[in-house]
């Protein structure tokens, strides 16, 4: 099974993750992050879009300690270190939740519906959770 890793297609795959769940309460945001990091570690092109309640993951000043949880925001701040530089916050989702860009972790780009459609269209694989 592990030998299959060595026979991976040489070309890079474009993989888009659409994370649309709030950071705590359910584990979906963490699952999404784990998959995105794994793809980045194996040198794939990763796009990471935060949509709907997923934009709450990007808020500054998170502290998971009070609920004995790891702080997701800290992990998201390290995305660039893993080579994930296409990180987008959905404009509409931010607006609906009265969140300003100034409230967000650094390094986020704004994206709108049209651009998300194009991103999905140009991706080889899309994860949505």
């Amino acid at each position: 099974m592990t030998d299959k890793l060595t026979t991976a297609r040489p070309a890079k795959s474009s993989i888009t993750f659409i994370s649309r769940s709030a950071p705590y309460g359910r584990n979906r945001a963490n699952l999404c992050l784990d998959m995105a990091l794994a793809c980045a570690v194996f040198e794939q092109n990763v796009n990471y879009v935060f949509l709907d309640d997923g934009v709450y993951q990007l808020l500054k000043g998170q502290d998971g300690a009070a609920i004995q949880s790891k702080t997701l925001g800290n992990a998201l701040e390290t995305l660039a270190l893993y080579g994930i530089e296409s990180v987008y916050a959905d404009q509409q989702s931010l607006k609906e939740r009265s969140i300003d860009m100034a409230d967000l972790l650094p390094g986020m780009q704004l994206i709108d519906n049209g651009a998300i459609s194009k991103l999905i269209d140009s991706s080889d694989t899309v994860f949505n959770l």
Binding site: L5, S13, M35, A38, C39, D124, N128, L129
Partner: protein, 129 residues
């Protein structure tokens, strides 16, 4: 067409796990190739062996295992999800000094690299959960 399925859904909690099973069966019936099953998050419970189900109810775990064995499907349980949920294969059970493995022998505990590999080798990756 070559498919891989990612299953996040726990058995019996939502319909998704049962839907994934039916989808997998249909793929095989229609002559598609099922490259890999990847059980992730709560989905790892679908590979649990130590389950007792009422006689007039479907035993999802058993049906997964039968499908996997009958068609020799590559089935992976994500290691980080599985260990903390007590779904251990022989190797992990021995490593952590438990007397018994709790995962069906038809699945193997492995890392997210196997998911990346599945993404690269499949025409379609379908998520359930």
């Amino acid at each position: 067409m070559k498919f891989s399925l990612v299953i996040y859904a726990a058995p019996y909690s939502t319909e998704s796990a049962a839907t994934a099973l039916r989808f997998a069966k249909s793929l095989v019936l229609q002559g598609h190739e099922l490259y890999r099953l990847f059980f992730f998050g709560d989905g790892v419970h679908n590979a649990s062996k130590l389950t007792v189900v009422a006689q007039d109810e479907i035993n999802l775990q058993q049906q997964w295992s039968e499908l996997i064995e009958e068609h020799d499907i590559d089935s992976v349980i994500c290691v980080s999800s599985a260990l903390r949920r007590g779904v251990l294969d022989q190797t992990e059970a021995k490593r952590h000094e438990f007397g018994i493995a709790s995962a069906h022998e038809s699945s193997e505990v492995a890392g997210l690299g196997q998911l990346v590999d599945a993404i690269l080798h499949s025409d379609r990756v379908v998520n359930f959960g």
